[in-house]
């Protein structure tokens, strides 16, 4: 699935045993694509020593503070993370 700037996305709720770049507080959270970057080797595979890691598009995804921290969020804050494509689902996707 390829995304464009402005698309609504949800992070995967997966909790893998291996190296993974979706912080726990950001799992199964709704955000929007803020920027589309080049394709880079997937960090999960690189950390495992895979000599030919998958190359995936990297995105900057914006999350409203209230989506991530619920009632604990400060007003008008937006958190941005760089996430690989396989970490993301269209907003109506299944985990």
């Amino acid at each position: 699935m390829t995304f464009s700037v402005g698309d609504a996305v949800r992070t995967s709720g997966r909790d893998p045993e291996h190296h993974y770049r979706v912080p726990r507080y950001l799992r199964a959270k709704r955000g929007r694509i803020e920027a589309v970057h080049a394709a880079f080797p997937l960090a999960d595979a690189r950390a495992a020593g895979d000599p030919a890691p998958p190359i995936e598009t990297l995105y900057t995804v914006a999350f409203d503070g209230s989506e991530v921290w619920l009632d604990g969020a400060e007003p008008n804050t937006v958190y941005h993370a760089e996430l690989w494509e396989s970490y993301l689902l269209p907003i109506d996707g299944v985990p």
């Binding site: 080049a38 950390a47 990297l58 991530v68 969020a73 400060e74 008008n76 941005h80 996430l83």
Partner: protein, 211 residues
């Protein structure tokens, strides 16, 4: 985070979340020993490369970039659109051992930006020099994502609730630099004088320019 390995995104690491620094030191020493044994490079060669890199890497680079953007609207536009191309115009380069994509985010009357690396300590080292200790601390990294306004207040930066705060977490391949707002008091100042107002902390959003 127990599986988090640092050898895949090249920069310094505090190793304050499990892996002891001693282990990394031993690994580095073993590598240098192997290079020496094979006649590839000596310990002094490695030190010289690091010193040359660090001698060219300091916050004055970031300050020059900002000062140019403040006086030249076309440069500012390029900096926000393609930061790597913009810094190349000033003879600067993000890459040390691998290409790095730089993104510059602009503070405005409506937006304040702040940079963090929650995984370790990713930081635009080529433009700012080594990251300060606070940037690497677990307290900063864990708090600024959740309560950036409170953290900024502790730095002396008061952001009114109706001004957005954008937190940029360097979780993968990009590095971030903040373009601060030009203070009103600096009308007519030349670039070197403007650059002198811009501190290291202002370039990651943890301070305002000093006038």
């Amino acid at each position: 985070m127990s599986e988090h390995r640092h050898d895949d995104h090249g920069h310094d690491h505090p190793h304050d979340h499990g892996s002891p620094a001693a282990e990394m030191t031993a690994r580095v020493n073993a590598l240098i020993g192997a290079l020496e044994a094979r006649g590839v490079a000596t310990d002094a060669d490695v030190t010289a490369v690091i010193e040359r890199f660090l001698a060219a890497a300091g916050p004055s680079n970031g300050a020059r970039i900002v000062a140019r953007a403040w006086v030249d609207p076309a440069y500012r536009a390029l900096l926000l659109e393609d930061a790597n191309a913009a810094i190349a115009e000033l003879g600067l380069d993000m890459s040390h051992w691998a290409p790095v994509e730089l993104r510059v985010v602009e503070n405005t009357a409506r937006v304040h930006n702040i940079v963090v690396c929650t995984l370790c300590s990713c930081y635009p080292i080529a433009l700012l020099g080594p990251a300060p200790q606070w940037y690497k601390s677990e307290a900063y990294r864990s708090r600024v994502v959740r309560e950036p306004r409170a953290v900024l207040r502790e730095f002396g930066v008061i952001v009114p609730d109706d001004r957005d705060v954008r937190v940029w977490d360097s979780t993968a391949e990009l590095r971030y630099l903040v373009l601060p707002q030009r203070p009103h008091e600096t009308d007519g100042w030349d670039e070197p004088r403007l650059a002198a107002t811009i501190t290291r902390d202002a370039l990651v959003g943890a301070a305002e320019p000093m006038v």
